[in-house]
């Protein structure tokens, strides 16, 4: 049934990969058990002054941005007709789905009463809250992503009728997904518009929603390149496209990445200009801001451009990794580094090792599940029995 060959051919389940990931996941499970039995204080450095830390900063804020590749590539292929990217649609959608699942799991760890997660929809709504909009969109988009990953599952299971049904939904789901993504990617940034005195002016802007949306596109494109970097080697036996085709796809993505990053740069500079914040660049915080902007927006932008022009795949991958890092750094800045910047030093926040471990566990979990699915289901290749979607 499956073209994919069996797992690596080693004996037993005690492969190095399984041992390492197993240890990480076990540690994460133990920490979360302590968290749920004794409260957030025992496993986090959160406080009254710093209610949001690494779990919100990475699992929610960065996680949603990094999972943006799904809507970017599906819109490109199905709405704008860029069919040459068809081979990366399924991996990107799977990354997106697992990314958003990670967001929800991370949220369940962070919420004071996670069993009340559905309350905004079933008990009482607070429609004035940007977070209400985010939770509504994320819930709907997770559903959209879930349905968009089912074709591969149905092909794997041989459920032809189901597969045909969901294939017909592709366009509607893609449009709906783009609507939802535009909204919640932007609104995650908009959540900070209510904190003008707590977020440093270099990061605070009335345009922060646009900044979050554009940087999410850059992050999504970069994650497709990064994910392809590992998948292409790990699943080489399944891949049907030629090396040239694979390289062309990467260079096309690099070109897109360059354009999006230069756009993002322009949007950030415009925000500085509108608020007349140039002199702030000369401060300590300004230096840190420039590290984020020059080091992880301008630099990968140039690297993407050069990689595309000179057809250097390695350079494109470095640029992609830097972009991902830069978006994560930006989300950290907005959530807990440049946030509360005026608070006395002894009351500032730094993540506890338990928070880091749980975050790493969640990422590991996503990687393990991705690998499991991609080994068995037609993600990296097209099932011979089924026509390509649209």
């Amino acid at each position: 049934m499956s073209i994919a060959t069996a797992d690596s051919g080693r004996n037993g389940i005690f492969t190095p990969f399984n041992l390492i990931t197993g240890a990480i996941l076990l540690g994460g499970a133990i920490i979360l058990t302590i968290r749920f039995t004794t409260g957030l204080a025992s496993t986090t450095n959160l406080s009254d002054t710093n209610p949001w830390g690494l779990w919100i900063g990475f699992d929610v804020m960065a996680g949603v941005a990094l999972a943006a590749g799904g809507f970017v590539i599906s819109s490109a292929v199905f709405l704008f007709g860029m069919k040459e990217y068809q081979p990366v649609v399924r991996p990107a959608l799977l990354t997106g789905f697992l990314g958003y699942a990670l967001v929800v799991i991370g949220l369940l760890a962070d919420l004071g009463r996670p069993w009340r997660l559905p309350y905004p929809f079933i008990k009482q709504a607070g429609p004035t809250s940007p977070l209400f909009e985010v939770s509504l969109c994320v819930a709907l988009y997770l559903t959209v992503l879930f349905i968009e990953t089912t074709p591969a599952v149905f092909e794997w299971l041989g459920l032809k009728w189901w597969r045909r049904l969901v294939a017909q939904l592709t366009i509607v789901l893609t449009i709906f997904g783009l609507i939802l993504s535009t909204m919640h990617q932007s609104t995650l940034g908009a959540m900070f518009m209510v904190t003008p005195t707590k977020l440093h002016p270099l990061w605070y802007s009335s345009q922060i929603p646009v900044q979050f949306f554009v940087s999410a596109i850059a992050a999504g494109i970069s994650m497709i390149i990064v994910e392809g970097w590992f998948s292409h080697r790990a699943f080489h036996h399944q891949v049907q496209i030629s090396d040239d085709q694979f390289r062309d796809i990467n260079f096309g993505l690099a070109k897109g990445g360059a354009v999006v990053l230069v756009t993002y740069l322009a949007v950030k500079v415009v925000a500085l200009s509108l608020e007349n914040e140039w002199r702030l660049l000369a401060t300590g915080w300004g230096a840190w801001y420039l590290v984020e902007l020059i080091g992880f927006v301008v630099t990968p932008c140039i690297l993407f451009a050069v990689a595309y022009r000179e057809r250097k795949l390695g350079l494109a991958r470095v640029a992609a990794a830097m972009t991902v890092f830069g978006v994560v750094l930006n989300r950290f800045n907005v959530t807990f580094i440049a946030f509360n910047w005026q608070v006395p030093h002894e009351m500032r926040y730094a993540p506890a090792w338990t928070e880091v471990w749980v975050t790493v566990s969640l990422i590991t979990f996503a990687v393990v599940v991705f690998r499991w699915i991609a080994h068995r289901m037609p993600i990296m290749y097209e099932h011979p029995d089924y026509p390509a979607l649209h």
């Binding site: 607070g126 429609p127 004035t128 509504l136 509607v172 709906f176 609507i179």
Partner: protein, 41 residues
């Protein structure tokens, strides 16, 4: 009458959410109606 902006926004934004939800679902029907003849070919 609304004494605070908060109460006003709670009401208006809540109603608007419902409105746009109805619009989204209705748009699908509208689009199907619009392109029905195309699909008959």
């Amino acid at each position: 009458m609304y004494y605070t902006l908060f109460d006003f926004l709670t009401h208006t934004e809540g109603a608007t959410y419902v409105l746009i939800g109805v619009f989204l679902i209705g748009f699908i029907g509208f689009w199907k109606f619009l392109t029905e003849r195309e699909r008959e070919e």
